[in-house]
Subunit: 155 residues, 3 copies
């Protein structure tokens, strides 16, 4: 038994069954080798136009916010392609940091972030499975409802 | 003198004495080799029940929020164990991203996050010393008061 | 054509031209080798005094918040120097996570974060170019208007 397990037992602490994630991502991603690419926080801008502005769900519906999250993915992949040249070098989506502009009583951040996570899974199968944090924020740059930063692993 | 130090001097900028962290974590963590495990944002759920919902300190006391932070640690260790099999492979806790649901006049995010940091130090001694960011947010998934994401280093 | 590109085409999704970042940072940073140093969230404290408290722009002007962001950089470099001994070992600024205390109608988080980004570029030229996420939050530890966490690459 590892020292950590012994200490947990000594303190009468038990590790739970790993909770199933409440959305379409995975609890943990291991990275043993390869190169990281860190992508700056992406906002839902397309052809120079913001897809939406304001908070979810008061100004922006959850469905529109999901579309915004999808656009963040496309913008991130474009930034990645520019950085590494060939998207065939993408090995794994490692982490998403999802920020949703929302009031204090909003609880559906995972639904919004799933717009991004589901698209990554659809495009990349197991290579698209990532760790994720999704949180509310009062405001984001330019007033957008969603901002997502990405960490990728590449060959 | 490095070029950076020369430029700092040229711009009449001086590096301060490193500030002692305001809580039970360390200013910096170096990672020279090993494998990273990124753990998704953990929420204070135990046996399928949320430990609390709402903002700190209005709906949830700082003490209860600290207990929530501790549960996030246990859930993260469970996710890590599922990922790597043997927690004896854990070499270092690298980083915590702590999000505390709180109003605009709350200032005690470090106290809440210490619920997680203190437990990690208690369980892992020096291997548990981590870098940390703790910030307020208006809302979190399912209405929980605390969400924490983790980066671990493993053998 | 990679499988990813094929799937994008199959789903009638096109990658945009990579958007120019809205501020003084870069869309992507690649890390192929070297050691990471993770710096805890830095707050604008100097000589034991907070430079400001409150939200931007209501309590703290954008200009003062930029000065706060600059102080976070100096504090981070001090923590890095303490960790690695010689700042000449710094190879690349990898990532900044910038949190700005602000109300729901604030949109100029990038301007605030530029206080940090511009200083890093001024001090380090290309080595200072980093990925960045900048978001609003209702509150930060001790009531400060800006908190920034850093990831550095060192030799």
């Amino acid at each position: 038994m590892s020292n950590l397990m012994a200490r947990l037992a000594d303190r009468h602490l038990t590790l739970p069954e790993p909770a199933a994630p409440v959305a379409s991502y995975v609890p943990a991603v291991s990275v043993h080798s390869g190169a990281f690419v860190f992508i700056s926080g992406q906002i839902p801008i397309k052809d120079g136009e913001l897809l939406a502005t304001g908070q979810v769900p008061t100004d922006v519906s959850v469905e529109l916010a999901q579309a915004c999250a999808r656009q963040c993915v496309l913008n991130a992949l474009a930034a990645l392609q520019q950085e590494i040249g060939d998207l065939g070098r993408l090995r794994r989506v490692v982490r998403l940091g999802c920020f949703v502009a929302a009031p204090s009583d909003f609880i559906d951040h995972p639904k919004v972030a799933n717009g991004a996570s589901d698209l990554l899974l659809d495009l990349l199968d197991d290579d698209g499975k990532h760790a994720r944090a999704a949180v509310g924020v009062p405001s984001l740059p330019l007033g957008v409802p969603v901002e997502i930063e990405f960490t990728f692993l590449v060959d």
